[in-house]
Amino acid sequence: MDVLRSLELGVVAAVAAVLGSMLGLGGGVFLVPIFTLFFGVDQKLAIGASAVAVVTNSVVGSSVHLRSRFTNLRLAMLLQVTTASGAVVGALIAVWADPRAINAVFGIALVYAAASMAVRRRANAADAAAPDPHRLGAAFDDPATRQTVRYVPRRVPLGLGISGLAGTLSGMLGIGGGVILVPAMNLLMGIPVKAAAGTSSFMVGITAVATAFVFYAEGKIDATVVVPAMVGVFLGGQYGSRLTRRVQTQNLVVVFVLILLYLGVSLLLKAVGITLPGQR
């Protein structure tokens, strides 16, 4: 066992989980590019490891969101139908696709994530009195305002379509899909941010399982990468959750946007055969 390499991968996974927790993401958007660009991990093995790490992060974090009722279980299961379907299709594409194509798609996804984070807007207040034919309306107590927040999701068919897209990208790239799901639920469906993050946190675990099984079947689960990723994500996720309460995450967004842009551009360049200094 290469202990030093395992430690390095574990530390990277822990840092990714801390950053992910603070930004409401799963951390997968950081793991795959860093594993491939800086550790020379095979792209497919990195995606498989990231999928398992995303499941771990979701399993650890979802209980907190469920207890707070930030997770809307009815909405999660409805959207999960298209998300999980997309993930299976995306994972099958990823297993057989040219790594350069994956790098290009991942690069575009990271640049999109950076842009959406940079121009993050707030949704209009949720309309709790709107018609609720699908019985998706829910409520939770917000500890920050000490008030009960009630909402009814809007534009459900659009949400289903975007969830399918998020699932496909998740399957292709080994990410949880929260980077697409959370803004879509908040901005397009009018779901409060905490409920969107809590529902997404629960969903990404199920989505990533669909991806991970496909990669397991194809022999793309490498314990020397997966185990450090699992342990690192567990420890980092716990620390990140606590840190989030004390740190003003808005102040860190600029740094994260720059990191995502750097990783996204690096992958786009790699897709056309250009490797930046210090990368593999």
Binding site: R67, D141, R146, E218, G219
Partner: protein, 127 residues
């Protein structure tokens, strides 16, 4: 400065048992996986056994564990972690059905069916 208003009472609905079951299954799954992984890593260190670069096929996991290989236990820990969201989904389906919410019980079963397709690829699609 005026004191903050008292926290409103938790929203009440009929989904309490659904949430409680989901939390319980997640907790059991995580604890099981973490315990097996801890034992596996301790065993790997004690025996100086290298980690596998490729996870064993499902059929090979139990024989590897019976042979006392840490790699088999690590595969089991990974599979327990992957099984946890699946078991949670199953639990949520059962809890929705018990709560009389047939529509969402059926939707949750549809999600399980999609996961079953994915898992069957892992079970039968490997070389």
């Amino acid at each position: 400065m005026a004191a903050p208003p008292p926290l409103a009472s938790p929203p009440s609905d009929d989904l309490g048992p659904v949430y409680a079951l989901a939390m319980r299954v997640l907790s059991i799954g995580f604890r099981s996986s973490a315990a097996v992984l801890t034992v596996a890593l301790a065993l790997a260190l004690a025996k100086q056994e290298p980690l596998n670069h490729r996870a064993d096929a499902f059929a090979e996991v139990v024989p590897a564990i019976l042979d006392g290989k840490a790699a088999g236990l690590i595969d089991l820990a990974i599979l327990l972690m992957l099984a946890t969201p699946v078991a949670t989904t199953l639990g949520v389906a059962v809890a929705f059905a018990r709560a009389g919410d047939r529509r969402y019980a059926a939707l949750t079963l549809a999600v399980l069916a999609i996961l079953a397709v994915s898992a069957s690829l892992a079970l039968f699609g490997g070389d």
